[in-house]
Amino acid sequence: MAREIAKDLEADDAAELREFAAGGEGPSEAAPAFEKKLREKLWRLLRRQPTADAGDPELD
């Protein structure tokens, strides 16, 4: 029983990864304004981040 469940869960993982890789099947795209705004925020975060754990209050 446990082995069967473990097998099922493994299959679930693979199915989710396949779905993720394929781009998902969401009913709609994100708002373009959000996509653009997040892109610029992330770029700023990346550029001013000297270390991996630098924070960005604007994004929190």
Binding site: M1, I5, E16, F20, A21, A52
Partner: protein, 227 residues
């Protein structure tokens, strides 16, 4: 962008921490031997892509963002069914990814790494109690009982809608049949197994998967049923 045809089961971290792929992960080593085969991304080498981004290449940053933004957002939206929550998760995922990018060694693919972070962030949303608006305004704190009751009804309807959607969209036809026999006809697992020509273990495993899927899609359902 083509869908990878050979994605197999991979171990995915259950932690939401931005853990870079471990050298101990066998599938990760296979990915390094065949750069980016599973990533379906328009570049050949994840490690080189990361190096370029860390070196300040806006072009490479845009490429990574363009490749993964839709995946992260759609994955989150499909599960959370709320554009606002999907946006929150998308932001959390990318902040985590870029904060941890320096630790990326290329031992596994970016696809698997970002997928793991995304799934953990989504799962954390399901586990987290629904935030309640609070105010220091005394008047706002005095919520009439009728309004509180209405809130509870709205919450319950929302949870049941999600439950219904999960049953209709996430269960296989066989699982829906099992669900019907078990929960509406109140049949025993042995009876269901006999009528469907399956083993009792197979029925139990399917029931477990259904509970998991429904609980993930309808957070708060158990508390609602216990109330």
């Amino acid at each position: 962008m083509s869908e990878p045809s050979s994605v197999t089961a991979v171990p995915v971290s259950t932690s939401s921490e931005p853990v870079a792929p471990s050298r101990a992960e066998a599938p990760a080593r296979r990915t390094k031997e065949r750069p980016n085969r599973r990533s379906a991304a328009p570049w050949d080498d994840d490690a080189e892509m990361v190096r370029q981004i860390l070196a300040g290449s806006r072009k490479h940053f845009d490429q990574l963002y363009d490749a993964y933004f839709p995946r992260v957002y759609r994955f989150a939206l499909k599960r959370l069914r709320d554009p606002g929550e999907a946006e929150d998760v998308t932001q959390e995922v990318f902040v985590t990814v870029f904060r941890a990018l320096q630790t990326f060694q290329g031992d596994s693919s970016l696809l698997v790494w970002i997928f793991g972070i995304t799934r953990n962030k989504v799962n954390r949303r399901f586990r987290r109690p629904r935030p309640r608006m609070e105010s220091i305004d005394d008047e706002a704190l005095e919520i009439p009982n009728e309004e509180a009751a209405t809130d509870n009804i709205v919450d319950a309807r929302r949870i049941l809608d999600r439950c219904q959607h999960a049953i209709e969209n996430q269960l296989t036809p066989l699982q829906r049949r099992i669900f019907h026999l078990k929960h509406l006809r109140r049949q025993s697992i042995r009876t269901i197994a006999g009528s469907l020509g399956k083993s009792e273990d197979a029925i139990k495993a399917n029931l477990y998967r259904m509970r998991r899927a429904i609980a993930a899609a309808a957070p708060g359902l158990e508390q609602l049923l216990d109330a």
